[in-house]
Symmetry: C2
Subunit: 210 residues, 2 copies
């Protein structure tokens, strides 16, 4: 069975992304072959889980041998669609946006911040790292012109997040990474993932001794 006929669990996708990051490291170190037991050592993901995850997408290894690191890297990259360059719109050129745009592992996985948007006149027309900052009202125009991104990162204050989501969806974005701690309303065909580090801290806080 494959991706078309069977739907892939979200936890599997999350782990696939982990495997890829790990494999890119191994590949950089010129490791050639790896077994599922080795992967467990690197990622803490159960070896059976690893093999099961891969099985949603096909066959990747050789019994008795293991997996070719370069080949597995290539094939997972393709599955996650990071074998090609993926342009990303970044909305919000504040502290967080700036940190995200400068993140080293972005380019390694073929994500490219293609344009930055902000509503602060002091920033518009300047650059964030190497990327032009445009007025938020220009999203549609800029994206249509040449970028044609379908991925957007929302790194604006909570109060503005929904409007920004509406705007990026209108210009063709179908996947949003949202850093504002609010529930975004989007059409069903748009995928949203939320990152809320205060929520993460709260979960950790629960585990503290009294």
């Amino acid at each position: 069975m494959n991706q078309q006929t069977q739907k892939v669990p979200v936890p599997t996708l999350e782990r696939m992304a982990r495997y890829l990051a790990c494999l890119l490291d191994l590949d950089a170190k010129s490791v050639e072959t790896i077994s599922s037991a080795d992967m467990e050592r690197y990622t803490d993901v159960n070896a059976a889980q690893f093999r099961k995850d891969l099985s949603y997408f096909g066959e990747f290894g050789r019994p008795g041998i293991g997996y070719s690191v370069p080949e597995l890297t290539r094939r997972i990259s393709k599955i996650l669609k990071v074998d090609r360059e993926q342009p990303v719109l970044l909305v919000g050129a504040g502290n967080l946006g700036s940190a995200l745009a400068g993140y080293p592992s972005l380019s390694r996985e073929h994500f490219r911040i293609a344009a930055v948007f902000d509503n602060n006149p002091a920033k518009i027309g300047h650059k964030l790292w190497d990327v032009d900052i445009y007025d938020i009202s220009k999203i549609a125009e800029v994206n249509a012109r040449s970028i044609d991104a379908r991925l957007a990162i929302i790194a604006v204050p909570s109060a503005a997040a929904q409007q920004v989501a509406d705007a990026v969806v209108k210009c063709g974005v179908t996947a949003i990474l949202n850093f504002a701690p609010v529930t975004l309303r989007v059409p069903r065909e748009v995928t949203v993932r939320n990152v809320d580090f205060v929520q993460e801290l709260a979960v950790l806080s629960f585990h503290l001794a009294p």
Copy 2:
């Protein structure tokens, strides 16, 4: 049954943190009462799920009426231990660390960045927002002196993350929020949560049309 006798699923804790953020908003708007069906409208979490989640910790509502927003806020805050101020060590005063320290919702949930650490001599001795930046080698000393934090945020490059984790664990930290895309090795009693936004992007990328 309660927290002592039954273990709470991690997804429940994650949602508890969401509920709290939502309730803080509602409380700020002076909403007095809310039903589980209302909560579903705000958070997209199924109403039965919401009630089930709360049931791990006791009884919170009144049949026919719903939940008192101030009371529920107070009680969830207590469960997540954010009813008191929680000091947090931030390691890494780069772009990301800076963005995190300045995050507005931190203080609302009673987290306080109590000290910042970096290995860049140009930063040590200065401040990040209002907080002193110390040399990384001083973690134990600074934390012992007065802060006594048990929560730490690691926002340093991947290559340094494990050493930093070792250092904070040694000085009494039992919960770590890790932004470096590596698997940290820590003693069993230490809780780690990872935030990896490139991984999040990769999951989104999978969902893009070919």
